[in-house]
Symmetry: C2
Subunit: 200 residues, 2 copies
Amino acid sequence: MRKIPSQARSKATIDTILSASTRVLLKRGYDKSSTNIIAEIAGVSVGSLYEYFPGKEAVFAEVRRREDRRLFELIMEHPEPASIKELLKLHVAVYLEFVRSNLALHVALISDVPQFAVTEQELPLYKNYIPWATKFLLTHREELRSFSDLSQVTEFVNRVSRATIDNYVLYAPEQLNDAQIEEYLIELLERFLLKREAVS
Amino acid sequence: MRKIPSQARSKATIDTILSASTRVLLKRGYDKSSTNIIAEIAGVSVGSLYEYFPGKEAVFAEVRRREDRRLFELIMEHPEPASIKELLKLHVAVYLEFVRSNLALHVALISDVPQFAVTEQELPLYKNYIPWATKFLLTHREELRSFSDLSQVTEFVNRVSRATIDNYVLYAPEQLNDAQIEEYLIELLERFLLKREAVS
DNA sequence: ATTAAAGCTGAGTGATCGCTCATATAATAG
DNA sequence: CTATTATATGAGCGATCACTCAGCTTTAAT
């Protein structure tokens, strides 16, 4: 981002560029998504694009950042879980919902767009959600097996869910349906987290 | 692949091109790895490259295929597991070994090279290993919880392991060391698979 | 020794790339 | 109204791209 936009007009231009980028990415793939094409589809001049983005990579980095924000907001919309099992459902089901709600873009961002210097740590999901979920586990610690580092466990659970879902969606979309993925994953994670007596 | 090489000379040329491609990928990234540069680094003319590959994508698809073969061979080298826990260790530890043995290339292939039309089904890992592992589970079925489709479970276990390891290696390399990843994953999968009494 | 097939060469073509900058218009401040 | 700043334009530059092809060399078969 080269200039910070101050007027509403320029913010609209940025939005136009980003939504055009998404459309171009889906239609032509990352390789063939040039700044010239993006500007043309956006109905904006190349110069304008370079006012706000140092290049193609930065444009798609922003597209990705907005998708991440969308996931975070989707999680926040949902009611607070009342039990560990519900927390896991939140993890798994909401991520599935997120992926399905814009499947083509999600797949393209993972399989086609290079993942340059993505510092997950900055994302709202990691800054806010992981600490929150860790506290939640802490209040239910009598149901849990003993772990030396709970926030590590929260992150592990989160990564297992997302990585597995992405893997199925990308490489084996026909192998399991969403309900099956959800069932397997929740069973998997519940048995990992809970004491034997507490497993339903 | 345009022509099938019949002489040893041309097979050597292909090898040279592929190893040069790997070096160029690591040094310049996928975007800036042109066929011209690859040929130059390989000490071969562009024309020769196009004799055997229809383009840049095909070159890197072959690089990926060779890495997959390397993983398969690594698995085959290891002794047969004697228990389910050992099978899980085979899953997890060997994949970690594979990833670590050529980390930079693995990361580049995942995060930088677009994953065009990879049909996992054709890979030796899926054609040979999954059926084999399923049979192994079947012979130990008295230790297992009841599952309606065991080959589905084998695949699930495999995908969870690989996706999670890739995720940590790519996005959170400092978060957990290999021993911790291995410990978490094996615990996770063992509790998922085994009856309560059988969990160590 | 002759010949056909296989393998290799690299200058060159047209297309496209990322990106700049001189110029113009719109919004805001004084 | 005027001056200043913010925003937008797009022709065009130099670099690089993927890819071809006509001619050359090596290998293998006879």
